[in-house]
Subunit: 159 residues, 2 copies
């Protein structure tokens, strides 16, 4: 049931990089650096996740440290945050929502590719995330705002 | 921008109960018991989450213990599972996906209310989940398959 008009995985990966550049430039006046995803695979502690449903089904997640989340929120809101609280969670949720919105615009040239859910934030000292075994996964390591984080896009083309 | 044709929060809560009954009857031949959500608020360790995007935006999550997840997977697949692994995660993901699909059918009498993302599974000994501050939340405690779990529906009507 694969739709030939849907973007391919490499196209989605490129679009996600465009989205990253667009959102970080407009939000932080920053040009984020893409790094090997192996460099960021141990970066964890807080995950911001939005679901994507439509012609493709999946989710977009940002994985970072709590300190990284505080820096992102601080840069978005012009404040200093020492620890994760509701405001930091909402700010990081807004960031992943903007990234998903930008990815959607870049990826919907043949019609709306997906709808976006509200974000869920997960954080803690000991947790794992699991994607369905039959889904494809794109991992992009990013360095920006003096922090490292991982963008993870999980998609199933014919879910 | 609230759409008057969208179901209300009490209607969504009722539809979620119908969905629970339908899915558990067809999958497990079980009639799950609704309990006070306070009874299940400490039940944690594994969360299965699907995003909902469209006329409403939100997510549906099941929160349970790892033992509860193993029992659910065991009942779905006719096997015994002693600990959480990829198969258990995929089974619990499939369950939350079925619940969201049933909720969607009950809630889409005036047109498709939302699209469903693929599930994310989060598990671990120490994690918290956070929903956006402006979203509404429905919590339903459930007892079934000798386990307790919480169904959490988070929705924003005009996100």
């Amino acid at each position: 049931m694969t739709n030939l008009l849907n973007p391919t995985i490499p196209e989605l990966k490129n679009n996600l990089k465009y989205a990253l550049g667009e959102v970080f430039e407009t939000t932080f006046s920053e040009h984020p650096e893409i790094v090997q995803s192996e460099e960021t695979e141990t970066v964890k502690g807080l995950s911001a996740i939005v679901g994507l449903g439509g012609n493709i089904s999946g989710y977009l997640a940002l994985h970072m440290t709590p300190e990284g989340a505080c820096k992102i929120a601080g840069n978005m809101l012009g404040m200093l945050y020492a620890q994760v609280d509701d405001i930091v969670c909402d700010a990081v949720g807004e960031l992943v929502n903007m990234l998903a919105g930008s990815l959607k615009r870049y990826s919907s040239k043949n019609g709306e590719l997906f709808k976006i859910s509200i974000p869920t934030i997960v954080w803690g000292n000991d947790y794992y995330t699991h994607a369905p075994k039959d889904a494809e996964q794109i991992l992009i390591g990013v360095k920006s705002l003096s922090s490292l984080f991982t963008m993870q896009l999980v998609v199933s083309m014919n879910y």
